[in-house]
């Protein structure tokens, strides 16, 4: 089977599992309870939030109780349904059972004939189809344009982010291995294995892995597509909920997905399954529910108010549960909403409720982390790194590409535009348009205040203030402000927010000009068409091919090895990443390449490297990867060579021997070791898989008498060379 087809099937399966649990099940459970609550996009956000919130906290609870397994997870998932059914049928269960059995007995006894039975079934099926057909026709008539455009957006997203699934099989961010490790540990009910960290995304991925038996490495390498869908559709749902025109929301969406005016860093992280990007899906719902609550007037239904506040709390909780950077951004947005809705937020009845909901959301997220911390689990190192970014001084080193002297002469606005150009926009002109559009949105908001549409104006002003704040924070080093996040991360949020700004700008202007729905629709459609033409004119981007942190061949080999060795013991000797990727496999072991080489640096007759499994695989990159700290699209070109093998094997700790030139040296050594070993064991050392870039050797040995892999391959003894 082609790996591309396998990946497509896997991503479809993972998507079905994830959306089934986080959308379909909440819809089944809440559809009657949320009937009439907001528009369809609002309910979409509500179901999605409810599903994620429930699953994450279910996993947290079971993991902290050390009882997490397939059975408890499934039971926990079905618990709300079981409770509802219990409440509903508490008094009448036996009667219903009796009735049902009675009908069944009538069929078995032949009293209900086949014809009658089929007639009844046909009738009920016909009624159901008729009802759904009516609904469908009504829905198509009213929302046909939206459905088509949503499908179009889906296709665009599939093209932009899905095409990578069939081209790149490895992890696309260096820290994914760490996430893999954490999720692997959850299998043993060992949450927070590396310290306390927001585990929201990990809980979800662990859930999909355990309940649907999808290997963790498969989920991690493919979930980014689903993550990209979720993040984009939340943006669309948010815009659909706040815009007054039908098609304006698609303007920002489409430009954001296809325009090449955005700098690569604003979207490249979507190509990796990362908590920060996944958590972005909950920022806009938090903002929407906060704004929706503040848009409520005194005569609003209390039930709706509670729901808005409840989902606001859930959204805030989810941002913090997944990644605390998202909470910071959500916090900034909430502050902006406070400014935009200043006419209402300072009323005590509103203030106390929204503050309480916010605090509750944070408490819900912090509770499991706090419990673990209180039980003695220390904070995870990257959390400390994140904190250090918060504390960093205004004099933080200036970002690369900025010329110190030049920056000193810039005004605040120029500095903001400059940073916008550096991190978010493709060129200065686009940066100016971006900053300008934030200003325009603010002016439009003020205008709508003057026109006494304060609820709508509040949205525009809130978003513009939020975006302005983000743009200023991005230039915090230049402006001498406190740096909240690692500076390059702002660009991801700013790119995401700019799409909303542009949609709302178009919406605000069109809504200013027209009032009638038909005119609004037509005009917004025209605006959308114009935006599409402009995007095509200014340039569209192609899907990015990110340089993965494993070769495609390594992932293909790993998939084959796992498939071929279900009950056998095997070892992979490779550079680091497979160690976690094969985490859940039985009888599977990993041997670090660098340890392997170091163990035979000074080989003599007593040197022994024994790997006591029946099969041992060696992964060797003939063109070693460019293993960088950051996500990149650089392509490696340097081949392993004798020159590389002549260099000493790296003494550096951790994965440093696999980074940069050190990886080339490490792989060169491995390559020449493999050549020498194959000369000694020509039949036993088989080429398992080979391409121009990569080779995997397989050695099948007798477990009772394993081979000694320590040999003199001609480049072991670098010490003499050093001395010489």
């Amino acid at each position: 089977m082609s790996m591309a087809i396998l990946s497509i099937l896997q991503v479809t399966g993972i998507g079905a599992a994830y959306f089934g649990v986080t959308l379909v099940l909440p819809w089944l459970y809440l559809r009657k309870r949320l009937a009439g609550f907001g528009t369809a996009p609002v309910r979409f956000m509500a179901y999605f939030l409810a599903g994620n919130f429930y699953i994450i906290n279910l996993v947290y609870l079971l993991e902290l109780l050390h009882i997490s397994c397939w059975f408890t997870l499934v039971l926990g998932t079905l618990a709300p349904f079981l409770v509802s059914a219990y409440i509903k049928y508490r008094g009448s269960f036996l009667m219903r059972l009796e009735k049902g059995l009675g009908r069944f007995l009538l069929i078995l006894g032949g009293e209900t004939g086949r014809k009658t039975l089929f007639l009844r079934m046909r009738r009920s099926l016909g009624q159901a189809l008729k009802a759904s057909g009516k609904k469908r026709r009504g829905c198509l008539g009213a929302h046909g344009g939206d459905i088509l455009l949503t499908l179009g957006v889906t296709v665009l997203l599939l093209y932009m982010y899905g095409s990578s699934v069939v081209n790149v099989y490895g992890y696309c961010a260096s820290d994914m291995v760490l996430h893999n490790y954490w999720i692997n540990a959850m299998e043993n009910n060992h949450i927070f294995v590396d310290g306390v960290y927001p585990f929201g995304m990990h809980c979800l991925l662990y859930y999909v892995h355990t309940v649907f038996a999808v290997p963790v490495y498969v989920i991690l390498r493919l979930f980014y597509v689903i993550q990209a869908f979720v993040v984009h559709f939340m943006l669309l749902a948010f815009l659909k909920s706040v815009c007054r025109t039908r098609y304006a929301p698609y303007i920002g969406m489409i430009i954001y997905i296809v325009s090449n005016r955005f700098y690569e860093y604003t979207y490249i992280r979507y190509y990796a399954t990362l908590p920060q990007e996944f958590g972005m899906a909950f920022i806009l719902p938090a903002a929407y529910f906060a704004m929706a609550f503040l848009q409520q007037k005194r005569d609003a239904r209390a039930e709706d108010t509670k729901r808005y506040l409840g989902f606001f709390a859930v959204s805030v909780s989810l941002t913090l549960t997944v990644h605390f950077y998202d909470t910071i951004i959500a916090g900034i947005f909430c502050a902006a909403i406070g400014a935009g809705f200043c006419f209402r937020v300072f009323r005590f009845s509103y203030l106390k409720k929204i503050t309480a909901a916010g605090i509750l959301g944070i408490l819900l997220a912090v509770l499991p982390l706090g419990a673990a911390f209180a039980m003695g689990t220390p904070l995870q190192a990257s959390l400390k790194w994140g904190m250090s970014q918060l504390k960093s001084s205004p004099e933080a080193p200036k970002a690369a590409g900025s010329s110190g002297e030049k920056k000193e002469e810039l005004t605040a606005l120029e500095a903001v535009i400059d940073r916008m150009e550096y991190y978010v926009a493709y060129d200065m002109k686009t940066a100016q348009v971006m900053v300008g559009s934030i200003g325009v949105l603010f002016v439009l908001g003020l205008l709508w205040f003057l026109l006494r549409r304060s609820e709508y104006a509040g949205v525009l002003v809130s978003l513009s203030i939020f975006m302005a704040a983000m743009a200023i924070l991005q230039a915090s080093a230049q402006l001498g402000l406190v740096q909240l996040l690692e500076v390059s991360r702002y660009s991801v949020y700013l790119g995401y927010g700019i799409a909303a700004v542009w949609s709302l700008c178009a919406d605000g202007v069109i809504y200013l000009l027209f009032r009638k729905e038909r005119a609004l629709n037509l005009c917004s459609m025209g605006a959308l068409a114009t935006a599409c033409v402009l995007t095509a004119y200014t340039g569209m981007r192609s899907p990015v091919t990110v340089s993965a942190y494993e070769t495609n061949e390594a992932v293909i080999c790993l998939s084959n090895i796992i498939r071929e060795n279900k009950n056998e013991a095997w070892t992979i000797c490779s550079a680091n990443d497979e160690r976690q990727m094969m985490g859940g496999c039985k009888n599977a072991y990993h041997y670090e390449t660098i340890k392997f080489l170091k163990d035979m640096r000074s080989v003599d007759e007593d040197t022994s490297i024994i790997i006591p499994t029946d099969t041992v695989y060696f992964f060797i990159e003939k063109i070693p990867l460019l293993y960088r700290d950051y996500i990149n699209t650089e392509k490696p070109e340097r081949r392993v060579s004798a020159k590389g093998a002549e260099e000493p094997v790296s003494d550096k700790p951790g994965i440093l021997p696999y980074i940069g030139d050190e990886r080339w040296v490490t792989m060169s050594h491995m390559y020449y070791w493999a050549q020498a070993f194959k000369e000694l064991y020509p039949n036993e050392m088989e080429v398992y898989y080979e391409t121009d870039n990569f080779i995997c050797y397989r050695i099948r040995q007798n477990g009772y008498s394993p081979y000694n892999f320590a040999i003199d391959y001609g480049y072991n003894g670098y010490e003499e060379k050093k001395e010489g």
Binding site: M3, V166, R563, E679, Y688, S705, N708
Partner: protein, 631 residues
């Protein structure tokens, strides 16, 4: 009341049942042409004979090996045959084994007394496949000899040390240790209580020769005393000892057979005397298969069970048999032995041959019963078992006299039956030759000898047209060493001949000779070899004879081109079989023949035509692949 119609139907049904039960059985009896030997398909002259037997190149030249024939002044350009091998060592069983293996695998062989002599002969090393060395013929104290061996390896000739030099030599000479891949001598005589033969070396898979229970200790006769060497890297172990000390790690167990790799060639070492009997044939075949990416060699492909001196036709030794078994000879053989043998064989393909003994004792007054013979011949015929004649008797009557009496009996019982095989027991070759001249044995074309531990050659020609086949194992005895030998013979020749002298059960000399005891060993042997070598063909002795004639006459060449191995066979037009041992490849198709998988990496090829093409599947394919890879 039964209606007429129903009555008629019932009658018809009963008639059908009666017909099925009685009439068909009678028909089967009538149509059983047991009186004609189905294995006689022509005279002995119709089959390949000794004249057509393959003789290795070097032997053809001199009639014997070069050993001792090379004079110092002669700088003969001795040419080893294609895929030639050289033996360095003195005359003896080891040399016989190597020569026999060379004949069986159709290799050229040249023998030299010493390395010095070999050096003078200036053998073309390019055509030399391996050098089998008796360590006793090497002057280990002479550095030049060790260096010469190293030079041979560098030139691509693999060395097989059929035995090792004294431990003091190994301990004291670093170069010898390096040559043999020995890191150090750990112990002189470690306490070992078993031997572990790893899978993938001999055909038949992994075996542990260790008595798990006390009652199994009687089977242990492997060499358990040998020096304990630990090996350097670049080695691969095929057989190890199992020390009594359980705390020792498995990878540190004392080694018995191993390989040291030097890149261009290998050094194989056998720590012990395993090469000095028929086991050597299998070890050499297995070693040869380890030396290259593939190895193809001819095999006999025959699995026989020979019940010698079974059945008896006269009511003999009645008193003793009544005492031991509570029944007469006829009942013992019909109701105990025959059902036991049939049951043991039912799941396995081994062919059965019964060498009947009209009488065991020709001096008593008990005469053989013709009806008994007819009864057995019928059931043998039904089971496709061959009926041969045993030339032995317990009363010491000369074979001529015995044959005379037997002939009289056969004329009375089955006058048309001709024997195509006979069992010679421990008779001298000359006596057998004389016996074969009798009219009764005129159609005999193969003679079976019992299992002999010291026999080197298991098959061959007794005379111009009569073959001999020796048992590769004694079916009535089982020991670990005999098991190992039989595995080796199966590996080298695809041949199993379990001979069982059933007169032991009829004239028991002790408790161990009772059928109850003997049957356990028969069943154990059949179970082990039937299960592990089920893909080899079960043959009656006369069928096996045809296989042997074709095998001995065969010469072949093979060549691998890409994914195809081509075999050109010569010397015989009959069907022959080969074993193909190949690493990491599977057979897709065999043109000019067919194939069966014996085990992972080992195939049995049936060659019907003179040119065979073995098509291999494309290299090991992966289930998941890159979209750019074409499938």
């Amino acid at each position: 009341m039964v209606s007429r119609r129903n009555f008629f139907i019932i009658t018809i049904l009963m008639s059908v049942v009666f017909f099925l039960c009685m009439f068909l059985n009678n028909l089967k009896d009538e149509w059983n042409d047991y009186e004609i030997n189905p294995y006689i398909t022509g005279t002995a002259e119709n089959y390949p004979s000794k004249v057509s037997m393959f003789v290795p190149d070097s032997q053809e030249k001199d009639g014997a090996s070069h050993e001792g024939t090379l004079k110092e002044e002669e700088e003969t350009q001795a040419q080893a045959g294609k895929n030639g091998i050289v033996f360095i060592g003195r005359e003896g069983s080891l040399k016989e084994i190597v020569r026999e293996w060379a004949v069986c695998t159709k290799r050229g062989i040249t023998g030299f007394l010493s390395l010095e002599e070999y050096g003078r002969a200036k053998i073309d090393m390019a055509s030399l496949e391996m050098m089998v060395i008796d360590s006793g013929s090497i002057h280990w104290e002479q550095t030049e000899e060790v260096e010469f061996l190293t030079e041979c390896i560098e030139k691509g000739t693999s060395l097989v040390f059929a035995n090792l030099p004294d431990v003091s030599v190994i301990r004291g000479n670093k170069k010898v240790r390096e040559l043999l891949g020995i890191r150090r001598v750990e112990e002189l005589e470690p306490a070992v209580n078993g031997i572990h033969l790893y899978g993938g070396f001999l055909l038949g898979g992994e075996v542990i020769y260790q008595a798990e229970e006390e009652e199994d200790e009687k089977y242990q006769d492997m060499e358990l005393t040998f020096p304990w060497y630990s090996l350097t890297s670049g080695t691969k172990v095929y057989m190890k000892g199992i020390p009594e000390d359980e705390s020792i790690e498995k990878e540190d167990y004392p080694v018995v057979i191993w390989r040291k790799s030097f890149g261009p060639a290998y050094v194989f070492a056998v720590n012990g005397g395993y090469m000095e009997d028929t086991a050597g044939l299998g070890i050499l075949s297995a070693i040869s298969a380890e030396m290259d990416s593939y190895e193809i060699y001819p095999v006999i492909n025959a699995q026989n069970l020979v019940l010698a001196n079974y059945p008896g036709m006269a009511d003999e030794n009645r008193e003793e048999l009544e005492d031991i078994y509570g029944r007469s000879l006829r009942l013992l053989e019909q109701e105990n032995i025959w059902p036991g043998v049939v049951t043991a064989l039912q799941d396995y393909p081994a062919g059965l041959t019964c060498m009947l003994a009209p009488q065991y004792d020709y001096m008593d007054d008990n005469s053989p019963n013709p009806e008994t013979l007819q009864y057995y011949m019928k059931i043998f015929h039904e089971k496709s078992a061959e009926t041969g004649l045993s030339l032995e008797n317990v009363s010491g009557m000369p074979v001529a006299g015995k044959l005379k009496e037997d002939q009289q009996f056969m004329e009375e019982a089955a006058a048309d039956y001709e024997f195509s095989s006979c069992y010679a027991g421990n008779m001298e070759a000359a006596d057998i030759q004389a016996a074969l001249k009798s009219d009764m044995l005129s159609a005999v074309r193969t003679v079976v000898n019992p299992y002999d531990e010291e026999a080197i050659s298991l098959i061959g020609y007794l005379s111009e047209h009569v073959t001999r086949q020796s048992g590769s194992g004694d079916g009535l005895n089982y020991t670990f060493r005999s098991d190992f030998r039989m595995r080796c013979v199966e590996t080298a020749l695809g041949y199993l001949s379990l001979t069982c002298d059933m007169s032991r059960a009829v004239y028991p000399e002790g408790e161990k000779d009772t059928w109850d005891e003997l049957s356990k060993n028969i069943i154990r042997n059949i179970n082990i070899f039937g299960k592990n070598y089920e893909h080899f063909e079960g043959t009656a002795i006369s069928e096996c004879d045809e296989h042997i004639r074709n095998f001995l006459a065969l010469n072949f060449t093979d060549i691998k081109r890409g994914d195809t191995i081509e075999i050109q066979k010569e010397g015989t037009e009959g069907t022959v079989w080969f074993v193909l041992r190949i690493y990491g490849r599977d057979i897709k198709e065999v043109k000019g023949g067919s194939f069966k998988e014996l085990e992972e990496g080992a195939y049995l090829i049936e060659a019907e035509e003179s040119k065979i093409r073995i098509l291999l599947k494309p290299g090991d394919e992966r289930y998941y692949y890159q979209p750019s890879e074409r499938r």
